[in-house]
């Protein structure tokens, strides 16, 4: 569902056990006042309906929410909400979602749609006056009709060939013998269809299968019983289950996808499959295997595209075959699997059950096994016949003693599995020609170079191939109603009309986009974009839009389809005009989607649509929706209008808005008009400032409208505008202040809340004295409303108080006298701490009050509540105390208050409810207490001294607690207050705590251990190495094994502590211990967290400084040999750091010596280390440049591109370091080696080369490089010119001015004087 953590608490649920209806699940209804009171009763009265968030946040709100994590009352919740009555039809099968597994279920848009959102399906398409539901129903009918026609035609055809009757009989017989599992009569199907309103999918399956069964079963009359039942195609499954159960199903419970799962088509044999659970598998896996394993006796493919279809050529020689004929005949192998009489869905065990369990390894093993199986299979006689000449050879019988090896164990996995042949991982050898399906003898002979005889064009095993029509992706059963026609074989492409073929083309492209593989999707997307204009807007949108309304639509598919619309829109441009309304009807719901990206996408589309169609089209199209009786339509329309306004500019829309807001015809139009303005404010933020006056005037008179809803909307819009304009634009609001005022004094209830909110946002824009004046005026109303029982009103009042108090003109004395007593009486009560939104708003308002009246005034009122019984309330006090002290400090806290405060925080800290069940973190609540405690102690500073003993006692006691979370929090607290303890001179106490912590180093919970290490580090930090107890020489050896801990928090804190000790107190520990630590550190270079790797690398530097570089360097150089790239990179950094800290001369000889090892990784490592080293040592590089030049020469000439790349990086850093230090000779020499690399193809190498040239440009001056560059600017080869111009441009960007002197002199040519004569002037 919404999954939004910031949701308001769910409104009371009236749905009886369907689970609470969450945010976005509540339905909006239009008129809170006109609604049936009985529906409202469930909500506890009319007033309550504003406690729910009634609309989804727009971008602006989203941003705000992210900023302050605030889920405040939404601006535009003028509409109340009731919970949708439950449609009995709609009660979901609880298994549906589970059945969908990872792929289906929750991914579908419709599944997480609230009933409000679902109203998009009811939207009336004005053109033909039908809703999408109707349209879809029509589509279905249409389809069925077409199929019936098709079927009739086929029957006719069959009769002509005289085969029809027989086959039908046989088919019926099979069905009858099976208890009616055969083709059901059409009437029955119709009956089934009427079973439920939403049973479309179901119906479709059966519709399709009608035909399927008749001619599918009829055509495949190959070897008697087997193929008779062999019509068990994908569609048959649905059908057979349909027929078997349709009568019952129609009456009984609603049937979902599960029901369509495999039931055998007919009793004896045949394969059935779960068409839903494992969609991809079915297409190919099943079809392919039987063919191979049964030596090509039976088989076929449901997916005509993927496998060439094979059919018993002996019996059926007719050239025309529909795809229904080509369903796989069951192989003998299948039979045992489906031995349960065929009626039980046993194969679902095989397919549905097994596939998801396939882990990577198993799948691979299976694949390999299959592969081996295939390759080691004996040649079939047919294949041998094909290759070997017919005379001169005879078939020998196998020796009588020969027993074929049977190792069932090895064969265990080689039963036909549905998962083979698809996407083999890695390289797979081609299937030899004789084993490919559907190969004619001739093909095999051709492949093996055997002369071809003319009459041998029959297929191996007597099968014939069916045409494959390009790989189409698998069509989900739900999508059959849209794409089903693609599956119909087109008998003759030429017989299709132009429209039909175009339709098929679009359909295929859409299918590929919707469910194809990424490459398919990409090409299809490009094709549909390129051909958009030739397809025309009509055919495109007639197909895209219904797809978008499909109930089975998934998020990803929606995204893709929306993308299609976007691309197509761009191409179609004004051709799109006739479809604007239909597109809007489909896209507008995206604007109120829960998903942020869907909203952004929706905005994008509407904005593009507006640009393509133009303002007048947009207005004339959307105009009728503005006073639609349906609130949903008006809501989405207002948002869409706001998007149009931001796309085409607000000014162009102003006259229209003015007219709408003054509409005499209906209040709904006025309401929507005002709402559009509100949405514009929310969408555009401060960009409304230029039109602020106009917008305010447009909505201004709405404040005095006779309709209460319009008044409220106007007030909310004013508040949005004021918020968007803050802190400017008060003059624009002059015209409405009087009516705002009047409204605030006249109304009550919800109306008053809206007006107060508007006033609250307008006051901060005012000048001081006005703000003060109006604050005094509004305050009595606010104080009166302090008592309001309405939660929403409370929050608004708090917010307005916060805004009023925050303005400059309000005197502290006034606040103290007038506001504080009432405020604390009404809001500092336990109940306020229970609702998260109230809680936050109370804290914010109190903070604002404290900013005005000072810290002690507020704290003295609440501090005793730190000992309150209710924990949430204590937490609220703690958080407020923390915020107030943070911003104001503890200056005006007197001794008495100080005592009460410390007493309170200690109590609150100790009384936290321990959540021992969790793995050791208190979570957010514990964090509040910890932060509060830390802030109070730090704010009081030295004044804490008398209490430190007590605090330390508490900490020690809690460090010993059973619950891990308590221990962790105590250790964290030490980290917070260590600085204060030092400031208070409590070194002895800290030493004591140090020893205590030291004793707890055996802690087993990694989170706690991490905190303990953090606490130790903070103590070491403040009291220094020498005074530390336990002494460093004891502490460090204890840390060495902890370094091996793999937990990130432990690693990070431990390496920090070790690094700190290595930096400051290395002398306390023996060199041997440090070397031991060095080895441990190498492992840390593998850490995922960058901070850990960085700390480890710099610790190498400290250690090298302490114990001398030799040993450390040795360790590091050895580490260059490892395979792990990240390790090597970190090692090179460490080497460079050692070189930096100990002087390059200590490191370079060994490093350069290491380059002689003829191993790629090591040499690269050395080069990289050099590169980092030169980066770190900067101009010190000038002492070493001549030493390393030969090495770099070698690297830059190496055959390995990575060598050259790293060499270039080293040259870059080197040259940047020595710029201006007189090393030009060496640098030019290096440049000569760098330069040829500009022709390198690999982007990394070319980048590194360009970097090196840039560096050399700095060191040598651009004109040297220019001299190299002009050589190739007009080279005959374009490739050469391109890179030279690239370098030229690079130089031009950096140093155009200095290049003036380096440009070549060019001779005049005809009329053109190319000589730059000014440069020749001299005095």
């Amino acid at each position: 569902m919404s999954g939004n953590a910031k949701d308001p608490p769910p409104p009371p649920s009236t749905d009886g056990g369907r689970g609470g209806i969450k945010f976005g699940t509540d339905i909006a209804y239009d008129d809170a006042y006109s609604a049936d009171p009985s529906t409202l009763a469930g909500l506890g009265g009319v007033d309550d309906d504003r406690t729910m968030v009634t609309s989804l946040p727009t971008l602006e709100e989203e941003r705000r929410m992210m900023m302050d994590d605030d889920d405040e009352y939404d601006e535009d919740n003028d509409e109340g909400r009731v919970i949708a009555p439950i449609d009995p039809d709609d009660v979901e099968d609880p298994f549906v979602r589970a059945a969908g597994g990872g792929s289906g279920g929750s991914a579908r848009v419709i599944d997480r749609e609230s009933s409000y959102h679902a109203r998009r399906h009811d939207r009336v398409l004005r053109e033909d006056g039908s809703s999408y539901k109707d349209v879809m129903a029509d589509v279905n009918l249409d389809r069925e009709r077409r199929e019936l026609v098709e079927e009739a035609r086929r029957e006719l055809l069959d009769e002509e060939t005289g085969e029809f009757k027989t086959r039908l009989d046989e088919n019926g017989g099979a069905g009858g013998g099976d208890g009616g599992a055969g083709g059901p009569p059409v009437g029955e199907m119709e009956g089934g269809r009427e079973g439920g309103r939403r049973r479309r999918r179901w119906d479709n399956t059966s519709t399709i299968t009608t035909k399927d069964d008749i001619d599918g079963g009829g055509n495949v009359v190959t070897d008697g019983e087997q193929s008779l039942s062999g019509s068990g195609s994908r569609w048959d499954d649905g059908d057979s289950s349909a027929s078997a159960t349709s009568a019952a199903a129609a009456a009984a419970r609603r049937r979902k996808r599960w029901d369509e799962t495999p039931v055998l088509a007919s009793g004896r044999t045949g394969l059935s499959r779960d068409s839903d659970a494992t969609p991809l598998v079915i297409g190919k896996g099943w079809d392919a295997t039987p063919v191979i394993l049964s030596g090509g006796r039976t088989g076929g493919g449901t997916d005509p595209s993927s496998t060439p279809l094979i059919q018993g050529g002996a019996t059926d020689g007719r050239p025309k075959r529909s795809r229904w004929d080509s369903t796989p005949a069951p192989s003998t192998m299948m039979t045992p699997l489906l031995s349960g009489g065929g009626a039980t869905p046993s194969s679902s065990l095989l397919v549905g059950g097994q596939t998801p369990m396939l882990t990577g390894n198993l799948a691979k093993a299976l694949l390999n096994e299959r592969e081996m199986e295939r390759r080691n299979r004996p040649w079939t006689d047919a294949a041998l016949d094909a290759i070997l000449p017919s005379e001169g050879y005879s078939t020998l019988p196998p020796p009588s003693s020969y027993v074929p090896m049977r190792t069932p164990g090895r064969k265990l996995l080689s039963t036909p599995t549905p998962y083979g042949q698809r996407t083999p991982a890695g390289f797979v050898m081609d299937i030899p020609p004789e084993e490919r399906e559907g190969q004619t003898l001739q093909d095999i002979r051709e492949a093996y170079g055997v002369p071809v005889s003319i009459d041998s064009r029959e297929l191996i095993g007597g099968e014939s191939a069916a045409a494959s029509d390009g790989a189409l992706p698998y069509i989900k059963p739900e999508d059959m109603q849209y794409f089903g026609r693609l599956m119909e074989d087109v008998e003759d492409e030429k017989r299709l009309t132009k429209e039909e073929s175009r339709e098929r083309q679009i359909m295929a492209l859409l299918l590929k986009i919707k469910s194809g593989t990424p490459p398919q999707r990409k090409t299809a997307m490009r094709q549909i974009t390129d051909k958009a204009r030739s397809f025309g807007a009509g055919p495109l949108f007639h197909q895209i839009l219904p797809l978008l309304m499909s109930p089975a639509l998934e998020d990803q598919e929606r995204h893709l389809l929306v993308k299609v619309i976007d691309r197509v829109l761009y191409k179609l441009d004004d051709l799109v005009r006739p479809y604007v309304h239909r597109i809007l009807a489909v896209i507008e719901p995206l604007l109120i989607d829960e998903d942020y990206y869907a909203r952004v996408e929706g905005r994008e589309i509407i904005s593009n649509l507006a640009k393509a169609a133009g303002l007048s089209t947009m207005i004339s199209t959307m105009r009728p929706d503005i006073d639609s009786p349906d609130e949903y339509v008006r809501n989405t329309t207002s948002r869409a209008f706001a998007v149009v306004a931001s796309a085409l500019g607000v000014p162009s829309l102003l006259p229209f808005l003015k007219a709408v807001c003054r509409s005499r015809k209906s209040w709904m139009a006025r309401h929507t008009g005002i709402k559009i303005v509100q949405q514009i404010a929310l969408l555009m933020g401060c960009a409304v400032l230029p039109y602020l006056r106009e917008l305010v005037e447009i909505v201004g008179h709405g404040l005095t409208d006779e309709q209460a809803k319009v008044r409220m909307m106007a007030a909310l819009t004013i508040s949005s505008l004021a918020e968007a304009a803050h802190p400017y634009g008060i003059e624009s609001f002059d015209s409405v202040i009087r009516s705002l005022w009047k409204g605030a004094s006249e109304h009550h209830g919800k109306g008053l809340a809206a007006f107060l909110k508007a006033i609250g946002f307008v006051i901060p824009l005012m000048e001081e004295n006005y703000a003060s004046h109006y604050t005094r005026l509004v305050m009595p109303i606010l104080i009166r409303e302090f008592h309001s029982p309405d939660e929403e009103m409370k929050r608004i009042v708090l917010k307005v108080v916060q805004q009023c108090v925050g303005t400059a003109g309000v005197e502290p004395e006034y606040i103290r006298k007038e506001i504080l007593p009432e405020f604390f009486r009404n809001f500092w009560i336990r109940r306020m701490a229970l609702d998260r939104r109230n809680y936050k708003q109370v804290i914010e308002t109190t903070e604002e009050l404290a900013n005005k009246v000072g810290c002690s005034d507020i704290l003295s009122r609440i501090v005793d509540d730190l000992k309150d019984d209710s924990e949430p309330y204590r937490r609220m006090v703690m958080e407020t105390t923390q915020k107030v002290l943070e911003s104001l400090g503890s200056g005006d806290i007197d001794d008495r208050l100080e005592e009460r405060l410390i007493d309170g925080i200690l109590y609150a800290f100790q009384e936290q409810a321990v959540d021992a069940g969790t793995s050791g973190a208190f979570g957010k609540e514990g964090q509040v207490m910890l932060d509060g405690f830390g802030t109070v102690v730090n704010a009081l500073g030295e004044r804490c001294k008398p209490y430190l003993k007590q605090i330390a006692g508490t900490i020690k006691w809690r460090l010993n607690n059973k619950a891990a979370s308590v221990r962790m929090q105590a250790a964290d607290l030490i980290g917070r207050i260590a600085v204060v303890m030092k400031a208070c001179g409590e070194e002895q106490l800290m030493g004591h705590l140090g020893v205590v912590l030291y004793e707890y180093l055996g802690e087993e919970y990694p989170d706690v251990l991490g905190s303990i290490l953090g606490a130790l580090r903070s103590i070491v930090n403040v009291i220094g190495m020498t005074k530390m107890t336990p002494p460093i020489r004891d502490l460090l050896p204890r840390l060495t094994p902890i370094l091996r801990n793999r937990h990130e928090k432990v690693q990070e804190n431990c390496i920090d502590l070790v690094g700190r000790i290595a930096d400051r107190g290395a002398e306390f520990v023996s060199a041997k211990e440090w070397m031991r630590i060095c080895f441990e550190l190498l492992e840390l270079l593998k850490a995922h967290k960058k901070a850990i790797r960085r700390a480890a690398v710099s610790t190498f530097g400290y250690i090298a400084k302490a114990v001398g570089p030799q040993d450390v360097l040795h360790t590091l150089l050895n580490n260059l040999k490892v395979q792990d790239r990240q390790m090597r990179v970190c090692t090179t950094v460490a080497i460079a750091i050692v070189a930096e800290t100990c002087g390059p001369f200590t490191v370079l000889p060994a490093l350069m010596n290491e380059y002689r090892v003829p191993e790629l990784n090591i040499q690269n490592g050395v080069l990289k280390a050099l590169s980092f080293m030169f980066e770190y040592i900067g101009e010190m590089g000038k002492d070493y440049i001549y030493a390393v030049t030969p090495l770099l020469e070698d690297a830059l000439m190496d055959r390995d591109a990575v060598h050259r790349q790293t060499g270039c990086a080293a040259v870059k850093h080197l040259s940047l370091g020595v710029a201006g230090l007189g090393c030009e000779d060496a640098l030019i020499h290096l440049l000569n080696f760098v330069w040829p690399n500009i022709f390198e193809e690999s982007p990394h190498v070319i980048q590194a080369t360009c970097d090196a040239i840039e560096g050399l440009m700095v060191a040598l001056g651009p004109n040297v490089i220019l001299a190299y560059t002009v050589q190739g600017l007009y080279h005959p080869a374009r490739k050469v010119r391109e890179i030279y111009w690239k370098i030229y441009n690079m130089m031009y960007i950096y140093a155009a001015d200095s290049m003036v002197l380096g440009f070549p002199a060019i001779e005049d040519e005809g009329d053109n004087t190319y000589a730059r004569t000014t440069l020749e002037l001299f005095i």
Partner: protein, 90 residues
């Protein structure tokens, strides 16, 4: 190609931002024209150079500056006949 900050820069943007940059299809005339303009702009931009040329030509600094700026309009005369040059300014 990247900006001095390291962000990649598209060819068209590059041309828009740094008018004097070139590409593999640049004609000689275009390139030299850019060269001249850069040179003249450099002269105008450095006051010491400007005063040097003023002394050398025995002209006032202001006039020299004006001449340079005017010359930037078409420093190498008209484009060669037969070759239409895009983006030349005239």
């Amino acid at each position: 190609m990247s900006t001095p900050g390291g962000a990649p820069i598209h060819k068209d943007q590059l041309k828009a931002k740094y008018i004097g940059t070139g590409d593999a299809d640049m004609t000689k005339y275009e390139w030299v024209t850019n060269m001249h303009r850069d040179t003249l702009a450099s002269h105008v931009g450095h006051y010491d150079q400007l005063s040097y040329y003023a002394v050398a030509q025995n002209e006032s600094i202001g006039r020299v500056k004006k001449e340079f700026i005017e010359k930037m309009l078409q420093p190498c005369n008209k484009p060669p006949v037969g070759k239409t040059v895009a983006g030349d300014g005239i």
